[in-house]
């Protein structure tokens, strides 16, 4: 069993970069101004370096300019307009709600910030999302949600193909909203995800904020190489999933990315052993359950160190 220390996605912005953004973008709702490439590159390099120093092995770019969390993806697609602030799941965080006013199309690169990160570091995951973008947006254009979803899927698929052509090895699809999908939706979603996972890159489905019991066993048929489960919010239920279903590779969200409280290494080790003894995994990623941007930066770093320590003691 291979064990790899990783992170989920977003990360607190370096303090100087935060100040920079405040200066060039202001505090109001019209964000997304052009950011100097060199400045962004410096900030991303810093965040990747922090991950390395903490002992993380598979990195992300920290999503440093994802003002609207996963909904940032919508802001980079044609057809969407960003509107008033809405609460992001059960967090004290807000995103501008994207409203689909026209046909959704990819007219430019979605992950232009990831492209910069990939110049710095090759062992890095690109992060995208599909269903969550559709679900958390407001659709004022399509008469059927399904058509809306498919157009987002097509746009994301184009991005995935371009990532693959550039030599990217890992793509992670974050889908917290998928945990609340209705059973009857899962059939369409299977087709959507089969389209997205039809790539040579390693594909990781990341779920968080809740347990994933409602999407099993259907999700096993979606074509993902790795399935990520949140063992902070849904330990019991996700434990049952591991007991009941067989899959090769899993991402264990073991450390609470939304609380400054530091877990005990012993406790984490116990949980790791309990979960992995019940499954038959060839590959296990260990990570916080969510991105680390919910935490003050000093604690975000400590949480990554804890992940790295856990990897040491379980190997």
């Amino acid at each position: 069993m291979e064990v790899i220390a990783t992170v989920v996605g977003n990360y607190p912005r370096p303090e100087w970069f935060r100040e920079y953004l405040r200066k060039v973008e202001g505090l109001q709702k019209d964000l997304d101004v052009e950011i100097e490439r060199d400045v962004l590159k410096k900030a991303i390099a810093e965040v990747i370096d922090e991950q390395k120093r903490a002992g993380i092995e598979l990195f992300t770019d920290g999503q440093l300019i994802w003002h609207d969390f996963l909904l940032t993806i919508a802001s980079r697609l044609e057809g969407f307009e960003m509107n008033g602030l809405v609460r992001y799941f059960d967090n004290n965080l807000y995103y501008r709600i994207p409203i689909a006013k026209g046909r959704v199309k990819r007219t430019k690169k979605i992950l232009y910030d990831f492209e910069i990160a990939f110049e710095i570091e090759k062992n890095i995951k690109a992060v995208l999302s599909c269903y969550t973008v559709a679900k958390l947006s407001r659709n004022e254009f399509y008469s059927k949600f399904e058509d809306f979803l498919w157009d987002i899927c097509k746009a994301v698929k184009e991005e995935i193909e371009e990532l693959e052509r550039s030599g990217v090895k890992y793509v992670q699809i974050d889908e917290p909203a998928l945990l609340y999908a209705e059973k009857k939706e899962l059939e369409v979603l299977r087709d959507v995800y089969r389209e997205l996972t039809n790539t040579k890159m390693e594909t990781i489905l990341m779920t968080y904020f809740d347990s994933a019991e409602r999407i099993f066993p259907e999700v096993l048929d979606f074509g993902f190489d790795v399935i990520g489960l949140d063992f902070v919010e849904g330990y019991e239920e996700n434990m049952n999933i591991v007991k009941e279903y067989d899959f090769d590779a899993i991402n264990l969200g073991l450390i609470d990315g939304r609380n400054t409280k530091m877990e005990s290494l012993e406790d984490l080790k116990g949980k790791f052993e309990e979960i992995t003894s019940k499954g038959n995994f060839k590959k296990v990623y260990i990570s916080p359950n969510t991105g680390l941007e919910f935490l003050p930066s000093i604690k975000a770093f400590e949480k990554m160190q804890l992940i790295a320590k856990l990897k040491e003691v379980v190997e």
């Binding site: 935060r18 003002h67 602030l85 965080l93 400054t260 941007e293 935490l295 003050p296 930066s297």
Partner: protein
């Protein structure tokens, strides 16, 4: 029918400079304290000229509404800032030990204000539910327990405030409408906070879906609830009507998110709408929320319009000013 404010007021520009100098160690505590007091005098004068009936000190010493209190209560530490949206951050406190009363929270501010004005005073303090909701909880087994523990701390402060002469306390609870499923916890917390507190109690809530907290909110042990109405074009008044709202009403009728100064006529019209729901003596006319994000001259103009509109309605109804 009285006019009041929610709490914050734009800090004078010179004060912001002084705060920076103080942070950089170029101004000592004594000078800074004098600056704060002078700023409060300026703010009080603005309110007096505008003619507001019940005032507060504009929250010159408070940078925001969670960490200011957390820093003064045992059991909290602040590791740093977290993002709320876009480029907006706040220092999010962590609860790392038993929450205990340590320093006064608003008593000195109240006493100073009392010494420089004869106006009626309202003391706004962020409520237990909101502070806990906006903090990390490392210590208590549940959010509920943390909320109740903090409510006890605030109860002590409220009692002390009454002892030194405070007659009107406002509990700020903007987090309540964001978690309607936890309204029972918030309600119990208010009961703890006001236990044995012999004062008029208001509760301010801005932002969020009000419909989700009705009718439960009507059972809260407060004399008055203060809502924002202008921000959503007074549409939420329909909810109050629907549920036979019977508490005193804090009537937010000035939009704090817009720099456009309302006309006297439109504020009057709004006041008459509120009077369809409560009697004049139950009505407290105020802005939607604190005014701190507006330029000072616009905040001042808005207050003047609000008072003038109230005065004209009083005259038309034959109520004394």
């Amino acid at each position: 029918m009285k006019t009041t404010v929610v709490g914050s007021y734009p800090k004078p520009k010179w004060l912001l400079r002084m705060i920076k100098l103080h942070k950089d160690g170029k101004v000592d505590d004594k000078v800074m304290d004098e600056a704060y007091k002078d700023a409060v005098k300026a703010v009080v004068k603005d309110h007096e000229i505008a003619g507001v009936d019940i005032i507060w000190d504009g929250e010159m010493r408070r940078e925001e509404m969670t960490s200011y209190f957390a820093e003064r209560i045992d059991g909290f530490v602040i590791y740093g800032e977290v993002r709320v949206w876009g480029n907006a951050y706040y220092p999010k406190p962590s609860i790392v030990g038993e929450l205990r009363y340590r320093d006064e929270l608003a008593i000195n501010d109240f006493l100073y204000l009392r010494s420089i004005t004869d106006k009626e005073i309202k003391v706004p303090i962020t409520g237990a539910y909101t502070i806990v909701d906006w903090s990390f909880n490392e210590y208590y087994p549940s959010k509920e327990e943390a909320v109740y523990a903090l409510a006890e701390v605030l109860n002590k402060e409220f009692r002390e405030l009454v002892k030194v002469g405070a007659k009107y306390i406002q509990i700020d609870e903007p987090a309540i409408p964001t978690h309607p499923e936890e309204i029972e916890i918030a309600k119990n917390a208010v009961e703890i906070m006001v236990k044995g507190v012999n004062a008029y109690i208001g509760m301010h809530m801005c932002y969020g879906n009000y419909r989700a907290i009705f009718p439960e909110i009507l059972d809260f042990k407060v004399d008055q609830i203060d809502f924002e109405f202008a921000n959503r074009n007074f549409e939420d008044l329909a909810i109050l009507k629907e549920y036979d709202y019977d508490k005193d009403l804090g009537f937010g009728c000035i939009d704090v998110h817009s720099r456009r100064v309302e006309t006297v006529e439109e504020v009057k019209k709004a006041i008459y709408m509120a009077l369809e729901i409560v009697e004049p003596d139950q009505l407290y006319v105020d802005p939607d929320c604190g005014l701190k994000l507006l330029p000072r001259d616009i905040a001042f103009e808005k207050l003047k319009v609000m008072v003038q509109a109230t005065n004209e309605v009083r005259k038309e109804l034959g109520i004394a000013e």
